[in-house]
């Protein structure tokens, strides 16, 4: 539930954002001005304090800035080997985007083997209870079958809305998951109002003896889906159920064929759009340290 907690935290800090007029840098200016590149651990410790007390997005950004500088500057200070991977892990903890969080864990693992495996575990769906995920998958299947009542029951389970929100945001490359709202709507339409999912109705021409396929549902209750739709919704089930994907085409359908980003130490500052050469806080801004000092 870390994802949900992060959302709540974001909401709180957004709401609180307009309360104070002071920027985070102004609030922590005294401490910031004492930081020197020769002591990268001080950046990290201050970042922890800022993150712990953060109540605004700006404060979270400041914490990130300090962690990134600690990460970069510690490269020159082999005396504190823990600092670089710890900075990555701290940055990951502040991330909402699971892909970015996993990438940061992978960078940490590049520096320190002990962090190997964190990235693989940082699957936001893994945090959702299995019964909820199963219920969502069943909702999709029941809706496809036109069994609307049972489908709607699944949607009423606790945690379902949050799960749907998290899934809906998944975008890989230029592809995204199929519309969940469409299925929600369909679940409200079915069962068939004419045959009640019996698939057939009496033949109007000889109602006593003959039956014909229901003209409303055409004998096949549920939404009209073409093959691509079926692939997409089956893949969505696979994502939620965390299925293996036996083939590359299945993985493609499950949006698991986005680009594989290399964990790269040099990419950390760029990821946060921070200039690592400006590591000294002076007169309200980050500047390049004076080489003579």
């Amino acid at each position: 539930m870390k994802t949900l907690a992060a959302y709540v935290l974001m909401l709180v800090v957004v709401l609180a954002g307009g309360v104070g007029a002071q920027t985070p840098e102004e609030r922590f200016e005294d401490r910031l001005s004492t930081l020197t590149p020769s002591n990268p651990a001080a950046y990290y410790l201050l970042a922890e304090e800022v993150a712990y007390a953060a109540s605004t997005p700006g404060e979270l950004d400041l914490a990130r800035h300090l962690y990134v500088l600690a990460f970069v500057l510690s490269d020159r200070d082999p005396g504190v080997p823990w600092l670089r991977p710890s900075s990555c892990v701290a940055l990951a903890a502040l991330e909402v985007d699971p892909a970015r969080r996993r990438w940061l864990y992978a960078v940490a693992a590049l520096i320190d083997d002990r962090y190997t495996g964190l990235a693989a575990e940082a699957d936001h769906l893994a945090e959702v209870p299995a019964p909820t995920r199963l219920a969502f998958a069943e909702f999709l299947g029941l809706t496809r079958a036109g069994r609307g009542a049972l489908a709607r029951q699944r949607l009423e389970l606790p945690g379902m809305d949050e799960l749907i929100d998290a899934i809906s945001s998944a975008v890989v490359g230029n592809r995204s998951v199929p519309s969940i709202n469409r299925m929600r709507s369909e679940a409200g339409v079915w069962p068939c109002k004419q045959c009640s999912n019996a698939r057939s109705v009496p033949d109007p021409s000889s109602p006593e003896t003959e039956r014909v396929l229901c003209p409303n549902c055409r004998g096949n209750p549920g939404p009209l889906l073409d093959t691509d739709d079926l692939v997409a919704y089956t893949a969505l089930e696979a994502i939620v159920l965390r299925a293996d994907g036996r083939t590359w085409s299945a993985e493609h359908a499950m949006l698991r064929t986005g680009p594989l980003r290399d964990p790269d130490l040099g990419q950390v500052p760029r990821m946060f759009a921070i200039d690592p050469t400006r590591s000294v806080y002076n007169s309200g801004q980050w500047v390049t340290p004076d080489p003579d000092t």
């Binding site: 396929l213 079926l230 692939v231 089930e237 590359w248 064929t257």
Partner: protein, 874 residues
């Protein structure tokens, strides 16, 4: 009055006088004089025009009878007495053994008209009459042979350095089931063979005193003596002693021929004993005597009662597994020869085939050289355990003696045996630099191949050099062993290979060897074809869709494999791969475009309508379900959902069971799998449902009572449905092309095509291989930090990979980076170009919007690096 045959042929008037019959003066004679006289008379008969007639045979019988009389001390004494000769003038007996059996055995042979089955039986009886226990018979007769030549008897087991397994009494009795009497007879026969040798040598160059049943047999016996003078010269090399001729060794070949000529009856035990004797000697014989032995063996098998023949074959099958290569190869060869006989009883023929299939497993060719082929197969079979347990020097020597014999009998077949064994040791044997036994064997085998003189040998060494699956350490042992024996021409670059040579250095040695031995080298125009293909490919677009990008990757990998072929010396294959180009992948892409989306329903489902009409009419519903079960076909979604609902929840049970059967049969269809997904939430958790889900998903599930079962079952069906949909849909090309890419990677690793290994696994294998190559090549250790960094990077990539396509991409790009390092180590001056290739790759991967695009970029980079490696960069 008509003349008697002995008068006609030898001019003997008084056939009752043994002295006259043998042409001897009536005087005191020694055994040797009698034997010599007999030989002279037999020779005279052989030279007579009537030799091949029944009269000729009658005279031979008379001669042997006369000799028998003079060799019998009591009869001889009686003749002396009749002629008034003093008994003290009699010369000492030729055989001075403590036993009287020796001279009497010779007498029996002579009296029986040569040694044959009758003589054998009489000999056994004689032994018992003399009070010689059964166990002492062999030693007694062996002593006869040894003493007569002034040499101590040599136990058979000592001669061979082993105790033949089939000489175990218990084993023999178990297998053959002969009685004690038969055993004694058999032993006697063996020793009789020894006696026969003595006698036949005493007879000089004459034909043996037998009454052949066939003219051919006579000729063979005559040639046999000739063969005794055809033994190959002994090898003077102390490291490779040829078998030492043992003059006192009985002539087991003659024994076999004699048994055949006697025309039976005979038993398997006897034949086995004679074969055991032959096994120790046959490798010394030349082609003709070997042919005679083989011919005699086949004839003897026909003489055996069927049960005896079966016992013989079964024992011989066991003997193919004997540690002694002489035994193994003789039995393999003889059974192989027997296998081409067309007149064997079916049961026996089957036994022969079964024996061969369970051991050397060779096919019958009905060729004249079937014995040699079988023996060669036995030789290879004998060496089958060497890859895990190389032979000692002594074992190798015994094997090589037989190998040399086969080579003498058939140089081509012998050379194949040597080459195959050599290749086996190089390919699969222990590291020769860690196993002195393996190294010694390779060196000794290498002495028997001559790449400079023999193109086949040259081809073998070149193919081993070209085989990526063979370590450089292993192949270097062979190359250097050959180099030590083959002096280099003055000023010529020596063909030697360091055990730590890089792949490129090894390729250079291969190219040099190919040029030196075969005068072959990669032609510039062949490399030009490859260069042009690479240039054309790299100029083209990667494509926009996953299928197009994978197709591009397959072509890149194919061209990289062509470069690899150049490196390993196979320019012809390289050109083939280069010319294959895009044809295969274009066909896949074209198929995808034409197939389009799979059709889930044709909109008309009459079966479903009929089923719905049936309502509660159970017989009609059963009938309709039966119709589907008997004639499975593609079903639409309505039908699928109906039958799945019936299979899971239908009533009554008969309908449910019938529907279950139908669903199981149609469960490879997307509509049915989707129907299962739709119905699964309300399906009962009973074993039949578990079975149906497992069948449909093609997997095993946890127990149906497990709380996780619903999740696992649904996941399994979802996985299977996606797989089926993809296989028939617009993404089908992805999987086909992924399989083609796997094949290319398999080829890169030297695997056979179509192994079915996942591309991700193969790419990981490639990483391992390239790491090993760097560590082997970079003796200074300058690249270890680079390798370490790449492996850490790979671990990071793996941790970010979701699914096998990404896992493949993670390993693939790492393998590409490692390849660049390998080439940079080989050609330091190319490092800037290689760095540029990697830089471009990094940028392409960063910009990519899918893993397929990244895969294509990495494959193109890999191709460029390969092109630099073999000098065909565009």
């Amino acid at each position: 009055m008509r003349e008697s045959p002995i008068q006609q042929i030898l001019g003997v008037e008084n056939a009752a006088n043994p002295f006259e019959v043998l042409g001897l003066p009536v005087d005191v004679v020694s055994d040797s004089v009698v034997v010599d006289a007999l030989a002279a008379r037999v020779k005279a008969v052989a030279a007579h025009p009537m030799s091949e007639t029944p009269e000729g045979n009658e005279v031979r019988l008379a001669l042997h009878a006369a000799a028998a009389q003079l060799l019998d001390p009591r009869i001889r004494q009686a003749l002396y007495d009749r002629a008034g000769l003093a008994p003290d003038r009699a010369p000492p007996a030729r055989v001075v053994s403590g036993s009287a059996l020796g001279p009497r055995a010779m007498m029996v042979i002579a009296a029986e008209g040569g040694w044959n089955a009758h003589a054998l039986r009489r000999l056994a009886m004689l032994a018992h009459a003399e009070g010689i226990p059964s166990t002492a018979i062999p030693q007694t007769l062996r002593g006869l042979v040894g003493e007569s030549h002034g040499a101590p008897p040599v136990p058979q087991s000592e001669r061979r350095g082993r105790t033949p397994k089939h000489r175990s009494a218990s084993r023999e009795s178990d297998r053959i089931g002969l009685g004690v009497t038969a055993g004694i007879t058999a032993l006697a026969i063996v020793m009789l063979g020894a006696t026969w040798l003595l006698l036949s040598r005493s007879l000089g160059e004459t034909a043996p005193a037998v009454v052949p049943s066939q003219t051919v047999a006579e000729q063979e016996v005559a040639e046999l003596d000739e063969s005794l003078h055809e033994l190959p010269p002994r090898d003077a090399s102390p490291s490779e002693p040829a078998p030492v001729a043992e003059p006192e060794e009985p002539d087991w070949s003659a024994a076999l021929i004699g048994v055949r000529d006697a025309g039976g009856p005979i038993d398997a035990q006897t034949v086995l004993m004679i074969l055991d004797g032959i096994a120790s000697d046959w490798a010394r014989l030349d082609a003709r005597p070997v042919r005679r032995v083989v011919s005699a063996f086949v004839d003897v098998v026909y003489l055996l009662p069927n049960s005896e023949a079966l016992g013989l074959v079964n024992t011989m099958a066991d003997l193919i597994r004997d540690d002694d290569p002489g035994v193994a190869c003789l039995n393999a060869g003889l059974l192989s020869r027997l296998a081409v006989e067309r007149s064997l009883p079916t049961q026996l023929d089957n036994a022969v085939i079964a024996a061969l299939v369970s051991t050397i497993d060779t096919s019958r060719t009905a060729a004249d050289d079937e014995f040699i082929r079988g023996a060669a197969a036995g030789l290879r079979y004998n060496a089958r355990g060497w890859v895990s347990d190389p032979p000692s020097d002594a074992e190798a020597t015994r094997w090589l003696v037989v190998a040399d014999a086969i080579a003498r009998l058939s140089p081509d077949i012998g050379a194949v045996s040597i080459r195959e064994t050599l290749a086996m040791m190089i390919r699969s044997g222990p590291d020769p630099l860690s196993s002195s036994a393996a190294l010694s064997l390779i060196e000794r085998l290498a002495e028997r191949v001559s790449p400079t003189a023999d193109p086949e040998s040259a081809g073998l060494v070149l193919s081993l050099l070209s085989d990526q699956a063979i370590t450089t350490r292993a192949v270097s042992a062979l190359v250097n062993a050959i180099a030590r024996r083959t002096p280099d021409a003055p000023g010529a670059e020596p063909i030697r290979l360091s055990p730590t040579a890089s792949d490129s250095e090894r390729a250079d040695v291969r190219a040099l060897a190919s040029e030196r031995w075969l005068g072959a080298s990669a032609l510039p125009e062949e490399l030009g074809v490859l260069r042009e293909a690479i240039r054309e490919h790299l100029q083209g677009d990667v494509g926009q869709t996953p299928s197009e990008q994978l197709a591009d990757s397959v072509v890149s990998a194919g061209l990289a494999n062509a470069c690899r072929m150049v490196l390993w010396g196979d320019a012809e294959r390289a050109v083939q791969l280069a010319e294959a180009g895009r044809s295969d992948v274009d066909a896949v892409l074209a198929g995808r475009r034409s197939s389009g989306s799979p059709r889930l329903s044709d909109g008309s489902e009459p079966w479903a309508v009929r089923y719905l009409e049936a309502k509660r009419n159970i017989p009609v519903r059963l009938s309709l379900l039966g119709e589907l079960a008997q004639r499975p076909r593609e079903v639409g979604p309505i039908t699928a959902e109906i039958i799945v609902a019936e299979a899971l929840n239908g009533s009554p049970a008969r309908v449910r069971r019938e529907a279950h059967t139908v669903v199981a049969r149609l469960s490879n269809q997307a509509t049915v799998l989707n129907g299962l997904l739709e119905q699964l939430p309300t399906a009962p958790r009973v074993p039949s449902v578990q079975e149906l889900v497992e069948t449909a998903a093609q997997t095993s599930l946890i127990g149906i009572r497990d709380p996780d079962w619903p999740m696992m079952a649904r996941r399994a069906i979802v996985d299977r449905l996606l797989e089926v949909l993809a296989a028939d849909g617009s993404s089908a090309a992805i999987d086909t092309l992924a399989a083609m890419l796997s094949d290319e990677y398999g080829m890169m690793l030297g695997n056979p095509p179509g192994s079915g290994e996942r591309a991700s696994v193969l790419a990981e294998g490639l990483v391992e291989e390239r790491v090993a190559e760097i560590l082997r090549t970079d003796l200074a250790g300058n690249s270890s930090a680079y390798v370490d960094a790449r492996l850490r990077s790979l671990a990071g990539r793996r941790s970010l990979a979701e699914g096998t396509a990404m896992t493949f991409a993670a390993a693939q790009v790492t393998a590409t980076e490692l390849l660049a390092e390998i080439v940079a180590l080989e050609y330091p001056h190319k490092r800037p170009e290689l760095d540029q290739v990697l830089g471009t790759l990094s940028e392409s991967r960063s910009r990519a919007r899918s893993v397929f695009e990244q895969i294509a970029a990495a494959e193109r980079a890999s191709l460029q690096i390969w092109a630099h490696r073999v000098g065909v960069e565009p």
